[in-house]
């Protein structure tokens, strides 16, 4: 689903090519989502019976049967599956078994918080990683490079929840300058966004460094140097643009990681997002809610991949005329 598939398409002209890429991608995405939806439906049903969790253990078998029937869980599996598939095109995901509310309502209420957190984390990650990676590449093999790379390694190997707890202890408990958890203004966003960004900073900085080193060693950079351009000018006008390509792919993947990582971070910071909702839904065996959240995550991945693929055609003209 990532970058290389783009070059398979053989566009006759740039504009039509992009359109054709989009159509192909969208069709593929629909097929992917269908399979995800099916897998989610059957896998979640393997996990057990939600009625057992809704009712207390001293409920009678008759009480369980009554509740199961009123939730529609006593119908044949295939009927339930068809029902579920039928609702998908209209974005009907059914009622949450636990919250007794339409799943779409429950889910949509949490989407903004998660997107807000992931976007803030991505901004933090880029703001820290781009200078760090570029700096390390320019100082390749010297103390500055080792220093940055050591810091990056620490960031990459530290579990996010631990980073989160340390940040809470320092900034909320000791210094009392930021809220420990919860949702609200800008101040609530800082600690979780930094926590979530730490891992991505490391990944992006490392990749940017090696990509930049490759680019800086290439012929056209040597030509540019020979023409007498300053290092800063070379990095900005030639290095960045060419080093960006692999980095964009990784940033795309990082969006996925950020959404996934949000599950732990949301838990630690009591952040009202999709991650926490999904964890709870799985624990409660809230079938319709789990199915819809899985689809949401899958759809996000598909859309981000599509955007990454398309960004290639903008960043690198060779992709358009390739093959």
């Amino acid at each position: 689903m990532t970058a290389p598939t783009v070059s398979v398409a053989k566009p006759p002209a740039a504009g039509a090519g992009v359109l054709r890429v989009i159509v192909t991608k969208v069709l593929t995405a629909i097929v992917v989502l269908f399979f995800v939806a099916t897998a989610a439906f059957f896998l979640v049903r393997l996990s057990g019976d939600p009625v057992k969790l809704i009712l207390p253990p001293d409920a009678s078998a008759a009480q369980e049967a009554t509740l199961r029937a009123s939730l529609g869980l006593d119908r044949p599996l295939f009927t339930q599956y068809l029902d579920y598939l039928g609702g998908l095109p209209r974005l009907h995901f059914g009622n949450s078994l636990v919250y007794d509310q339409p799943v779409s309502e429950v889910l949509l209420a949490r989407v903004p918080a998660t997107l807000e957190l992931a976007a803030a984390a991505l901004v933090v990650a880029l703001v820290l990683a781009i200078p760090a990676g570029t700096f390390a590449a320019l100082r390749r093999g010297r103390a500055g490079d080792s220093g940055v790379m050591a810091g990056v390694l620490v960031g990459q190997s530290t579990p996010p929840f631990w980073v989160g707890i340390v940040l809470i202890l320092v900034f909320a408990v000791q210094l009392q300058v930021l809220p420990a958890s919860g949702y609200g203004g800008f101040t609530h966003l800082i600690l979780p966004a930094v926590t979530l960004a730490v891992y991505s900073v490391a990944v992006i900085a490392r990749l940017l460094r090696s990509s930049m080193i490759d680019v800086l060693g290439s012929d056209y950079i040597r030509t540019a140097r020979a023409k007498g351009l300053s290092t800063g000018g070379i990095v900005v006008s030639h290095g960045m643009r060419n080093a960006a390509l692999p980095v964009v792919t990784v940033i795309g993947l990082e969006v996925g990681t950020l959404l996934g990582g949000a599950i732990l971070t949301e838990q630690v910071f009591s952040w009202p997002g999709i991650g926490r909702l999904t964890v709870e839904a799985i624990q409660n065996r809230d079938f319709p809610l789990v199915q819809a959240s899985v689809l949401f995550f899958a759809a996000t991945f598909v859309v981000v991949n599509l955007l990454v693929d398309l960004s290639y055609t903008v960043l690198d003209p060779r992709v358009r005329v390739n093959s």
Partner: protein, 515 residues
């Protein structure tokens, strides 16, 4: 096994790590923002692990939901500070015949929208609960057929078989009263979005996973609460909930484990309060198979598991030993029945008598959250020669196996706990003692007769006799290993003054807040 020491060390390590870290941090970002939100005033902020599942009080049955909803709604009866049954929306109750309970209601009570709370509202509420279309997870009213209006302030619950503890059961959410007129007007979905009850607080707003706010009800029949606003905050992670307490973002952190509570020792301005609780733990033994068929083996296990040591070492002292599985506060508890003596030598002799001089291999199944306890019990059993492997399963799997048709699904021994919210011993034994019950793994005609006596008799003295005899029998035959009732543990700052009952529900009507 010295958790206090290791906890302190870990916390200190985190503190040190924290001090080393600011070098990395973002002074630029910090300069731009004010201090953490520490707004106080006449507000009480309570953190618990999650939000209520729904705000419709008849569509939930879990503690975190009840903790919130008990502040918006009232029940027919309630529990006083002494844990005795006390009038709620009902002033008195009688049983004119074994199949009927009659409740006389408190006059003049109104819902938050002004609607009267009368016999019609009560009957409507009970009948709504019983209607399968409501999909209610509340199971206490299983023997109630219907509720009938007698006159404006009198209502009767008609049962299919005698149920002596109906008055106790309607102190829980089986006895919650909802407004019929409002429900007709806005429907069930609208009601769950903006609930209206008769309770001490009125609903203001609910942002799921963020906060639930309510305001003091000036017209509350029990008197207006002494503070203005009550806020519930869901905080799934105990460490961050405790951090929020230390940074003055919440006033009370509820439902802590002894383990989590230790994290907060030594901080000024915050303290741990633990109160007696009724959640009772025990090991269920499969008496139908293997070595556990022999009563001497079962007695040996009871002698081997040193409960006082377990409480001291693993639970930081925050629990009380129980002689059988009846909590001390429940009706039916008899203080003349004493716990087993803790004696490894005696346990070994009993095992040898039963033909296991070298002990035997078995397993203990527990939920992942109880792993410390299960491991400790396994260690205690090993001293007597019983080698019990610990099998941990998640809550969902545990519950499914517990209520499955295969009564051996959780293995020969499993660690269980029940909260008998009715404060009647019947709740502790109703599903696992009589031989034909869902979780029973024991067959004793004597126990069956005693269960029938306490379940079908309305008269208290007769029920107490049956319970006393049942406790003697349970201790003698040992189909369980009896453990402890764990405390309710809260972390609080200096503002709130509040004392929970043994049931441990977060009713805040009588709480006070220093400003």
């Amino acid at each position: 096994m010295a958790p206090p020491r290791s906890r302190l060390t870990r916390r200190d390590a985190l503190r040190l790590g924290g001090l080393a870290l600011p070098a990395l941090a973002l002074p630029g970002l910090l300069a731009g923002c004010g201090s953490a939100d520490g707004s106080v005033g006449s507000v009480l902020r309570v953190a618990q692990t999650s939000d209520p599942k729904t705000l419709d009080p008849q569509k939930q049955g879990d503690l975190t939901s009840m903790n919130v909803l008990i502040n918006l709604f009232d029940t027919l009866t309630t529990r006083g500070p002494d844990n005795q049954l006390a009038p709620g929306l009902a002033l008195s109750w009688t049983s004119p015949d074994p199949l009927t309970w009659r409740f006389e209601l408190r006059p003049g009570v109104r819902f938050h929208n002004g609607e009267p709370c009368d016999a019609k509202a009560v009957a409507f509420s009970v009948n709504r609960l019983l209607d399968p279309a409501t999909k209610s997870p509340i199971v206490e009213l299983r023997y109630v057929k219907q509720a009938v209006v007698v006159d404006e302030l009198t209502v009767e619950l008609r049962c299919s078989q005698p149920d002596p503890i109906i008055p106790a059961k309607v102190s829980l959410f089986g006895g919650v009263v909802v407004p019929p007129g409002y429900l007709k007007q806005v429907g069930s979905a609208g009601f769950a979005k903006h609930p209206i009850g008769t309770g001490p607080f009125t609903f203001v707003e609910f942002q799921r996973d963020h906060q639930l706010r309510m305001r003091a009800n000036p017209g509350y029949w029990g008197g207006r609460p002494s503070f203005d606003e009550l806020v519930f905050l869901p905080m799934p992670d105990p460490s961050s909930a405790l951090a929020s307490l230390q940074s003055n973002e919440v006033d009370i952190v509820a439902s802590l484990t002894p383990d989590a509570a230790l994290q907060i020792q030594g901080y000024t301005g915050v303290e741990i309060r633990n109160y007696p609780g009724i959640r009772t733990s025990y090991l269920s033994l499969d008496t139908t198979a293997g070595p556990l068929r022999d009563v001497r083996v079962r007695q040996a296990l009871n002698h081997a598991v040193d409960v006082p040591l377990l409480i001291k070492a693993v639970l930081d002292g925050k629990a009380r030993e129980v002689p059988t599985m009846f909590p001390r506060e429940a009706f039916g508890f008899d203080p003349s029945i004493t716990p087993y003596s803790r004696d490894v030598g005696l346990a070994k002799r009993l095992l040898a008598d039963a033909g296991f001089p070298n002990g035997f291999d078995t397993s203990i199944t527990a939920q992942t959250g109880d792993s410390n306890i299960a491991e400790a019990i396994s260690g205690l059993l090993a001293k007597a020669g019983v080698r019990a492997r610990v099998d941990l399963v998640d809550t969902g799997t545990y519950t499914s196996r517990l209520t499955s048709d295969n009564r051996g699904a959780l293995g020969p021994i499993y660690l269980a706990a029940s909260t008998g919210w009715t404060l009647d011993a019947e709740s502790l034994v109703q599903s696992n003692v009589r031989h034909d019950r869902r979780q029973s793994r024991w067959s004793s005609p004597g126990a069956d007769r005693l269960i029938d006596a306490e379940e079908l008799t309305v008269e208290p003295a007769g029920r107490q006799r049956a319970f006393t005899a049942l406790q003697s029998l349970l201790k003698q035959e040992a189909p369980f290993v009896f453990l402890y009732q764990i405390d309710n543990i809260y972390a609080v700052n200096t503002r709130p003054r509040w004392q929970p009952g043994v049931v441990g529900v977060l009713g805040m009507a009588k709480a006070q807040v220093a400003s």
